[in-house]
């Protein structure tokens, strides 16, 4: 049966992805839920929760709030919190509850802006899609709303889009900046060790580096708006020693998998990339595959005659009778394990 998970637990959902992008932006983020979704985000999908403070809250919806559609109460609570916490903007992140009752998030956005006098972005996530969908939406809405002015370009400044713990397994930007230090004078990882100010100044970047598919849509927007060129890559892939040739399957987010493929090719490997997350056609090779369900991976392994599989340890349970070598490579959006 499709969408029946028998061996792994669910992957990071879209609301987690949205919150991940917003986490360090300096806004007030409200997860429009009863408490469980916020608990999943704060307690599992956001490793920075225990290191860096963020004004991330649950709307604390109760059944009658949902049944009666008390949007005004939610906005009232939001206005109250704006008096208690300094913030530059507010964000409302959708969950299954507003999806079931068909909350008009656009209307909530307008009501909130009117009541709080702060800009608001409402993100129509519903917890049924995967994190990269929520990240893509959050990046796009942030740049669309706040990166409005064209500023003078700073030579050598690179803006990185896609740097979230879910994509990278990092809770800070040190590794990414270190990897880029030889080729750029200044690096800003949007949303990781940087806040809304850098989003507002995005047009200063001489170029953009997109390190996960969730950043492409925002990069295209900045390219159209300011002419900022962008490239795709992943600057700090792990070294996988001791592989010399053979057929290798790499499962990760697409741009990480592609970058690792380039490395492994130099080691004589024939590499297929696969992902349960977004696989953009323009960055796919013919043998690459998007995995929709557990069974897809099992079938791929059965028919793929791979010598080596490099993937998050959680996927080992799906490999059935695979007799080759399995190399664990954590992907936070899968297992919640950091690098």
């Amino acid at each position: 049966m499709k969408r029946l998970l028998k061996h792994i637990s669910p992957l990071a959902p879209d609301d987690s992805g949205a919150c991940s992008v917003l986490y360090e932006m300096g806004g007030i983020t409200v997860i429009c839920d009863a408490g469980g979704c916020a608990g999943n985000v704060c307690g599992f999908d956001e490793p920075r929760w225990f290191e860096k403070r963020s004004a991330l809250f649950s709307a604390g919806l109760r059944d009658m709030d949902a049944i009666l559609g008390r949007d005004d109460l939610l906005v009232k609570k939001l206005a109250l919190i704006c008096e208690q916490v300094d913030a530059k903007f507010t964000a409302i992140v959708g969950t299954p509850v507003p999806a079931v009752i068909a909350t008009d998030l656009k209307a909530l956005e307008r009501m909130s802006e009117k009541k709080t006098s702060l800009p608001c972005i409402a993100l129509k996530t519903d917890g049924t899609r995967l994190y990269d969908y929520g990240e893509e939406m959050a990046y796009y809405r942030l740049f669309e709303k706040f990166a409005a002015d064209k500023l003078p370009v700073k030579k050598g400044k690179t803006g990185v889009i896609g740097a979230t713990p879910l994509n990278t397994g990092y809770t800070d930007s040190k590794a990414i900046k270190a990897a880029l230090s030889g080729s750029c004078d200044a690096v800003v990882c949007f949303g990781m060790d940087s806040g809304l100010d850098e989003v507002i100044k995005a047009s200063e970047c001489e170029k953009l580096l997109v390190i996960a598919p969730s950043g492409i849509k925002a990069a295209k927007l900045l390219n159209e708006r300011f002419g900022t060129p962008f490239e795709v890559g992943y600057p700090c892939v792990e070294d996988i020693p001791d592989i010399n040739g053979g057929r290798v399957l790499v499962i990760h987010q697409q741009f990480y998998a592609n970058a690792l493929r380039r490395k492994l090719r130099k080691q004589g490997c024939e590499v297929t990339a696969a992902s349960f997350f977004t696989m953009l056609d323009e960055y796919k090779e013919p043998s690459d595959i998007h995995l929709a369900d557990e069974d897809d991976l099992t079938e791929l392994i059965t028919g793929g005659s791979f010598d080596t599989v490099i993937a998050d340890g959680r996927f080992e349970r799906l490999l059935g009778g695979f007799e080759g070598r399995f190399i664990p490579l954590p992907h936070f959006a899968v297992s919640g394990k950091l690098l």
């Binding site: 998970l5 649950s58 109760r62 297992s335």
Partner: protein, 432 residues
């Protein structure tokens, strides 16, 4: 930025329960999922939330029927060995609007059974806010699953939306986990202890006291290793309920199985514990001699006071106690409680009133208030009790006191002071 909101016990008592300040009324503000309280706020995050509690029946498996976001943190339970017992039917956006997935649940049960090399005792069907809003008749779904597979199914309602209802999710799950019991001949010298998902700490005096009253076997679900042992719960002569969240389950067992129940409360004031055992004895027709335990515990507290002097405590709510009752107990024992991080309810407001008399300046905070983002530890506190209090006061002696072996009665008091003694010996009673 606003400082963390608090109100003194005196001010709160004067306002009355009907006039709680907005910051203490979770329905009136956004909820802060403080790192201090994650397992408390989020059903299923850690400890015994609905998901883990649903699997307390030996040999059970769980099918979580939900959008992916609801089951995401289940991976946290992997380390506890639950990997093989969780299955997920993920809902898409059309599902949650139309409810069409309900018809697929029996087939999903059939497919998960095919994956197992044993027949589970029950399939717990865990449903979420989606079903709360759609009004899914889970009893009917459970019957449909049984008809298709021949394996019993029971609902586990993970309805965060109804957390403050009279029968909240943690009450409903307690009712569910005893719902598989079937009537059988009752045995006069056996009883159940209900209320927790794990068992009482082994050395608890209640075992000896009940033994002295002629009780030969005490059943607790947390000690059941097999489904056969679980089934023995329905032969008990009576049940003792130690947590009010199990009241609905006990009432259901009384109706269906004819097992009456007596309700006790976990308290930390010795005279109240003594009184409660006296009443328990009266109810079961025996005189329970608890003087030995009373005297020993009283002496232990005196020794502790002699050794560590007048301590000032912070008391949280992520612990095996009612924050306010425990604070009242500490105050009555001669200690100072400077701060409480707790949820004020109708039931524990009586303790707030008593605290207001004995310790009017005790500051009461709500962990859920967004202003707790700005909490700054008070310097006069030199010992913390509760996982949340320990989080706020990382540099002083503290005990989380939220272990799985449940404290109760005199032994509960002893464990608390033994743990405090140990940590104070290690870290000292002063702020680092």
């Amino acid at each position: 930025m606003t400082e963390a909101f608090y109100i003194t016990a005196e001010e709160l008592a004067a306002r009355g329960y009907e006039h709680l300040p907005t910051e203490l009324d979770s329905g009136k503000h956004m909820i802060y999922s403080s790192p201090a309280t994650l397992d408390f706020n989020s059903p299923g995050a850690k400890g015994f939330g609905v998901k883990r509690a649903g699997l307390v029946i030996p040999g059970s498996v769980m099918l979580l029927i939900a959008p992916g976001c609801c089951g995401r943190n289940t991976a946290l339970l992997s380390d506890l060995g639950y990997d093989e017992r969780f299955f997920y039917l993920l809902l898409d956006d059309t599902d949650i609007v139309t409810g069409r997935y309900v018809n697929k649940i029996p087939q999903a049960c059939e497919e998960l059974l095919a994956e197992l090399d044993y027949t589970p005792s029950v399939i717990m069907l865990c449903c979420t806010c989606v079903d709360a809003l759609l009004g899914t008749d889970m009893e009917r779904v459970c019957r449909a699953c049984f008809d298709r597979t021949g394996v019993k199914a029971a609902p586990a309602y993970m309805y965060a939306l109804t957390r403050e209802k009279k029968l909240p999710p943690m009450g409903l799950i307690r009712k569910s986990i005893y719902s598989l019991l079937e009537p059988q001949k009752r045995i006069s010298n056996e009883c159940n202890i209900l209320g927790f998902f794990s068992a009482l700490e082994d050395n608890n005096e209640i075992y000896s006291l009940l033994g002295s009253a002629g009780i030969k076997k005490i059943h607790e679900i947390g000690r059941c290793k097999t489904f056969e042992e679980y089934n023995e719960l329905s032969r008990a002569n009576f049940s003792i309920v130690l947590n009010s969240e199990a009241r609905a389950a006990a009432q259901d067992m009384e109706q269906r199985l004819g097992i009456p129940f007596i309700e006790l409360t976990r308290m930390y004031r010795l005279d109240k514990i003594q009184n409660q055992y006296r009443l328990l004895g009266q109810a079961i027709g025996a005189q329970l001699d608890d003087s030995e335990y009373y005297d020993k515990t009283k002496a232990l507290i005196e020794d502790f006071k002699q050794k560590h002097g007048s301590l000032t405590f912070a008391v949280g709510e992520s612990l095996n106690a009612d924050s306010f009752e425990l604070s009242l107990a500490l105050t009555e024992y001669g200690f100072k409680v400077a701060e409480i991080y707790g949820t004020v309810g109708e039931r524990n407001f009586v303790f707030v009133k008593k605290l207001a008399q004995l310790s009017p300046q005790t500051r009461i905070y709500s962990n859920l208030s967004p202003t707790m983002m700005n909490y700054v530890p008070a310097p006069e506190i030199n010992a913390a009790i509760g996982a949340d209090a320990c989080y706020y006061h990382r540099d002083i002696a503290g005990v989380e006191f939220n272990g799985e072996a449940q404290p109760f009665g005199y032994r509960g008091v002893q464990i608390l002071f033994e743990q405090l003694d140990k940590v104070l010996d290690e870290k000292g009673g002063q702020r680092a």
